[in-house]
Assembly symmetry: C2
């Protein structure tokens, strides 16, 4: 079977888990502790990060953006990238927004500092970064609400990779209980819609040993 090397709280891995599930593609999850820099893993992905997708024929795909595009090209239905070039440009702009901007301003500062550093025994959390993460998240939650006021889903009429990327990042922060949902009702309504999809269910069962999820994490009525 297809194998996805992943880390439970890597938003990039989560985006691909969601994309695979939305496209009804079966896969086996394999935990890859990237900080151990396992030689056999570096041989298939010299960048050393997750996700990495290994197809049954032995072909290996690295980088979450490349994997998502590959899945869309080879399994076009249901489409996660949009129906024409302009729609796809908007989907990709938003995926980039979350994978670059939200990641640097929020995910790295909260999940990176509080959790990944601890898992990888890579120094102590930087309280300045954590404060920055808390300060930045509101602006992103407001941007999601702005989009939801104008559209059914983040990039338009249909659920796309933009929703999956955004929800993947938010779900990692939510594992820590660090999303101020009560101040962002409209964004919460959108997230509840993504969270209740069957593709999301496995993510809600993830547990990191020694770091339990905040109580509302798996609750569909949060």
């Amino acid at each position: 079977m297809r194998v996805l090397y992943h880390l439970p709280l890597s938003p990039f891995s989560r985006k691909i888990r969601l994309a695979l599930a939305e496209k009804k593609l079966e896969f086996e999850l394999r935990l890859e502790k990237t900080w151990e820099r396992r030689e056999a893993f570096l041989a298939i992905n010299p960048a050393g990060d997750v996700p990495v997708l290994a197809e049954e024929d032995g072909t290996v795909f690295a980088d979450s953006w490349a994997i998502a595009e590959y899945l869309e090209e080879t399994v076009p239905t249901p489409s996660l990238h949009g129906r024409d070039a302009k729609e796809r440009a908007e989907v990709r702009r938003l995926v980039s927004w979350f994978d670059r901007k939200f990641n640097a301003e929020v995910t790295e500062n909260l999940v990176g500092e509080k959790l990944m550093k601890r898992q990888a025994r890579f120094g102590v959390p930087d309280s300045f970064a954590i404060r920055a993460g808390h300060a930045n998240i509101g602006y992103h939650l407001a941007y999601i609400a702005f989009l939801c006021e104008r559209r059914n889903w983040l990039a338009g009429d249909h659920l796309t990779l933009a929703d999956l990327a955004a929800a993947a990042h938010l779900s990692c922060v939510d594992y820590l209980g660090d999303v101020p949902w009560s101040a962002h009702e409209e964004t919460k309504v959108w997230y509840a819609r993504v969270k209740s999809r069957p593709s999301f269910r496995p993510l809600l069962q993830d547990q990191i040993p020694g770091i339990p999820a905040a109580p509302p994490y798996a609750d569909l009525d949060f």
Copy 2:
């Protein structure tokens, strides 16, 4: 005419300038000092970064990854993304390598610290970051040589966006004179091939007021 909002030493802008030129698409360059956070610019790209492509019909495309995919979809010849899904996955993996990994480990530490901070009057260069940039670049130059030993261009038989992305980043570092070419002969041979393409010529004429390019920057026989 098509307008590209850019910064001369933004590797992401350079990648799109190269892609437009390789596809023989005419465009007008417009300098956007992103640190001024001009309101009319934020209205077309809330992320506030460059490049942004405005088509003649008024459609606006933001994010260099989304723009490159849009160009490939709408002007497929010459292809910059490869001929089939596997080739395209390899091209995208490498574009991501340079736009994420090289950018974080080298470009940000050298061009970001020495030049962008100065232009934007955004604090003083961090000497620790600059040392890290110098330490990291050799490993990336060796990776390019590793690829060139096995392939005609970085991702395979043909010039692709992977070469353009890599050369875009390297050219920014080269503007500062910070690429140790003499220790990486094979990488230099590859770069000379990209540098001598007509699409590259306008980049070699860029000059930042007050920060002249290192002498071999524009020299094709460097």
